[in-house]
Amino acid sequence: MVSMQTAMENLKELGFNPVTTAIGATQQLFHWDEAKVNELKGYLIAQNFQHHYENNKFYRMLCEDSGVTPADIQSLDDLHKIPLIPVTSFKRPDSHLLLSTSLENIEFEMRSTGTSGIPSISRRDAETLNNCVFSIYAMYREMFAFSRGAGLFLFPSPEEMPEMGMVKVLNMLSGLFDATRCLVKRASFKPKEAIETLEKWQNIHTRHIIGPPFLIYKLVNYLKTNNIHLKLDNKTMIINLGGWKRFSGMEIPREQYNKECAEYLGIPEENVRDMYGLVESNILAIECEKQSKHVPPWVHFSLRNPKNLAEEVPQGKRGVLAIFDPTSLSYPGFIQTEDLVYLKKENTCECGRNGQKVVYLSRVAGAEIGCCAINLEKHMDAAEEKSQMTEV
């Protein structure tokens, strides 16, 4: 049998792009054995590392400082040597240094804003954006297999916030649905309107609810307070993206959330699905029917000791997440996040898929509590207070 490297080199010679070829094979890759997937990931990430080493002056300097060259990165076992970009770099005034291409080639700037108000900006060129769109749709199709239905969108419309990462990624689902309705307008959300919309779709479309947990929870709480029990559809999905920690500091307990969604929306508990993503990265890890968050098979997650980020912690132990994403070309997708997570011990899953499964725990101590969802909640709370004051 030919080696992975030879197979990939052959593909390249024929004019195929190994990264998009891998993304196109998402379903198959989830069933490959671990050694083969690791060989593929190692190859893609090593190639991508070489690209940034050769095209990014600033990154090359980082590499030279740590004495790493492309010759040192041959396989998955070498990835720990790759210098990481701290996620806070995307907020710095000199973030132009992160680019591995000229601004002339940048097609899209995506942003996320935390509680400090300083935006994190990631800049993608055409090829990176292609990879990003392919990756997200590949994961949506793999985990949800949507091709129809109606989506109740509990997040601001992209018309109101065209560059906000969370909105952009969730709104991509609209391309798979027949009907969508966005119910967050000018930072306000009325649960009554959501119920009316769901009732209007009854017996016509399979209904899905999509948004950050704090907003979906707002709807569930409204149902609970008013003792309303909806009966949505058997295949209804409740899809969550964004922090579980609320701006107010209160955490929404996941188990209680699942139970209450099931009780008041009338759906199977396993249809409550969470996703993990990062505006600065092209990844979306999505929960399967067993509620395990599967990492896209072309991406590698490495966990670091919070006290010494250079040190990897063993699988199963908690650590700060470092992402190796070979789909990013306009800037290095080797990102040291500020998220405390762990990887489940087994790289197998009852759903039948193989590969890394991530469990999100919290932000690391001292990090800005920040994501699109929390910033949105802050603004919505402020808007609500204002409207209550004018009503009085």
Binding site: K91, P93, D94, H96, S102, L103, E104, I106, E107, E109, R111, T113, G117, I118, P119, I121, R123, M161, P162, E163, M164, H379
Partner: protein, 117 residues
Amino acid sequence: MYNSIIVDYFSKPRHSGDVIDANRELKIGNSVCGDTIFMKIKVTDGRVVNAKYKAYGCATSLATADIFADYIIGKSLAEIAQLLAHEIDSMLGELEPPQMHCLNILHDLFEQILSEA
């Protein structure tokens, strides 16, 4: 997507940084989308002798801060006040619709520097 003026100022910022003996400060903040500029300026005898900034946001807004600083340095406030609106508009070159908000940022900077004078 980005015109050559924006590419040039974004890629090679000339005035990013801090002015320790500044006597004027300008601030641009947009609460939701987050384009933010903190500019420090030193004015002596009605003339801008130094201007530096820290900017956070889209590439066009970062370039806007640099273009503004580049323009005002060495000019008297009286000279700056002579500028016509369309001359300010042309400083950023031709912009795409999602970049147009940076014209407001630029006008806002000019208004701020003249308002306290």
